[in-house]
């Protein structure tokens, strides 16, 4: 839209030198982008085509990509990332949306208190959260096993030590931490809902479930779309919870892209494989974003429709 405006409405006449100096306004952002985003991306793309460490590298063509794709760990990572996104995103939307609805529509004096309290996990350092949850899940002295035992569920070991449960135990921590963020996005969405529309729907006899599904959910679609996009990017960059709680274990069962890249690049020192994985994550992020924009529309992070 800015393009058409710029074309139809020429800038007021000023000397060429002054016009060029105006580009200084854009310079800092562009400089940061070129040095710390664009250059690193080009570098990994190039590096993914070489093998060996940084002292002696040889051209490898697509050999790194082949090696990454035949590695069974890669497919565990893919499965875990799909689970992570498929569980985290909808569950957070559902709980966050319900919280937002009840807090905004049914509380007054305590509204600020609830908004803040449910958001606190987001601002609590993720490394602190991870270690606290390790303790909660711990066998013998953790509170999870103690309280679950009272309702008849026995935990013999920590869920993060069980290959079949580890990823779900980590997803639970992630959902717990970020639900407050979904809540706040929906609160912003609800605040921008025109009250007359809700009242009109009420007058027409829509209430409860019909009001929610027929009127409110569609009108919150922009917030939902933002949460979907942010959820996908967040899923792909998952790292601290997994690194701190399981390190990707036991036996790679809870490995995600972050921990896999970390191990290949910094523990094993295999720059070629690390770079290849980085490129794959980048391409995935780009592809998923493009698909989403193609299917759901071009607006990036809207909380109100048609703005």
């Amino acid at each position: 839209m800015s393009v058409s405006r710029a074309a139809s409405e020429p800038a007021p006449p000023r000397s060429r030198l002054r016009a060029e100096r105006l580009y200084l306004f854009a310079l800092p952002a562009v400089l940061l982008f070129v040095v710390f985003i664009a250059y690193p991306i080009l570098w990994v793309a190039g590096q993914s085509l070489y093998t060996g460490n940084r002292a002696s590298e040889t051209w490898a063509g697509l050999a790194n990509y082949r090696a990454v794709l035949v590695d069974p760990t890669f497919w565990i990572v893919v499965r875990n990332m799909v689970l992570w996104g498929a569980i985290t995103i909808p569950v957070q939307m559902l709980i966050g949306g319900l919280l937002a609805w009840f807090i905004e529509r049914h509380t007054h004096g305590l509204r600020g208190f609830f908004r803040t309290a449910f958001f606190l996990p987001v601002v609590t350092s993720v490394s602190v959260i991870s270690l606290v949850w390790v303790q909660i899940y711990a066998p013998y002295y953790g509170i999870a096993q103690a309280y679950l035992a009272r309702i008849g569920i026995t935990m013999v070991s920590s869920p993060i030590a069980e290959p079949s449960q580890a990823i779900y135990a980590l997803i639970l921590v992630n959902v717990w931490q970020w639900t407050g963020f979904s809540m706040l996005m929906y609160i912003a969405g609800l605040a921008n809902l025109p009250g007359e529309v809700l009242d009109a729907a009420r007058v027409d006899g829509a209430s409860g479930w019909r009001l929610a599904t027929g009127v409110v959910v569609p009108m919150l679609a922009p917030a939902t779309r933002s949460l979907l996009l942010l959820g996908i990017i967040g899923t792909l960059q998952t790292f601290p919870i997994v690194h701190l709680m399981t390190g990707g274990g036991p036996n790679h069962a809870s490995e995600v892209f972050g921990t896999h890249i970390f191990r290949q690049s910094f523990v094993l020192g295999d720059t070629g494989q690390g770079a290849t994985l980085s490129v794959i994550v980048l391409l995935l992020a780009l592809a998923l974003s493009l698909v989403q924009i193609a299917v759901l529309g071009a607006r990036l992070a809207p909380a109100k429709g048609g703005a």
Partner: protein, 277 residues
Amino acid sequence: MTPATRARLRSLTVHAVLFLVLALWMVPQIYMLSVGLRTPAQAFDPALFTWPVTFDNFVMVIRDNPLGRIFLNTLVVTLATVAIVVAASSLFAFAAAVLRLRGVTVLYATLLTTLMVPLASLVLPLAILLRTFGWVNTYWGLIFPYAALGVPFGIVILKAFMEDAPSELFEAARVDGCTAWQTYWHVALPLVRPALVFVAIWQFIVTWNEFFLALIVMTEAEMKTLTIVPMQYSGLYMSNPGALFAVLTLIALPLVLLYIIVQRAFVGGLLAGAVKG
């Protein structure tokens, strides 16, 4: 039952349920504080609360650890990042939304792709780039990458706000003979203040808690930031959960307190339509 009593009953029920959910939601944080307040004998009790409480753990971990230095590192990195993000993104947003310079739209679209770049895919090249610059274990080594990653989000929000501002104000400034810089400083920035505050607070939270890059860039003990020290304490205090949870509480506390202080401005910015594309 009159409609008024029914409304009151419904309000009571909603509040009761919200408090119940909140109590469940706060269990991890209550547990953290509770274990931090325990004597060594109670530390392994599988219960949410124990009695009596003691502040010995807090006294000990404050005395034994350089938490002040770590806090200071985090503060320096975070404040510098916030300052750069607010400055660079508002300048760019001004160029795109108000000056409408030729080619800036293309630059804008390019910068926006950064929003879709997961940090996990950049840590390896950034680590190598920072080594080349000699910026490993320096504040700049975190500040510049954080700023670069934060600027696009700031631009999206500030550009939308500047486009929504009445254009007659910018026109009037031009007629009055203001330079571009004066228009930016005296007209544009005051107009978008709620959005600036929102961007600054969000950037503060994100930077303060960033883990992955900090883990790789800050390897020397005296340069570490608050998010990466809990790991080493979990080793140090493995047999003493009371001390570990006391130190974790202290690490988490500053940002939680800060958020409680600024939450009104933060939510205010959000409700003013900060996040709308």
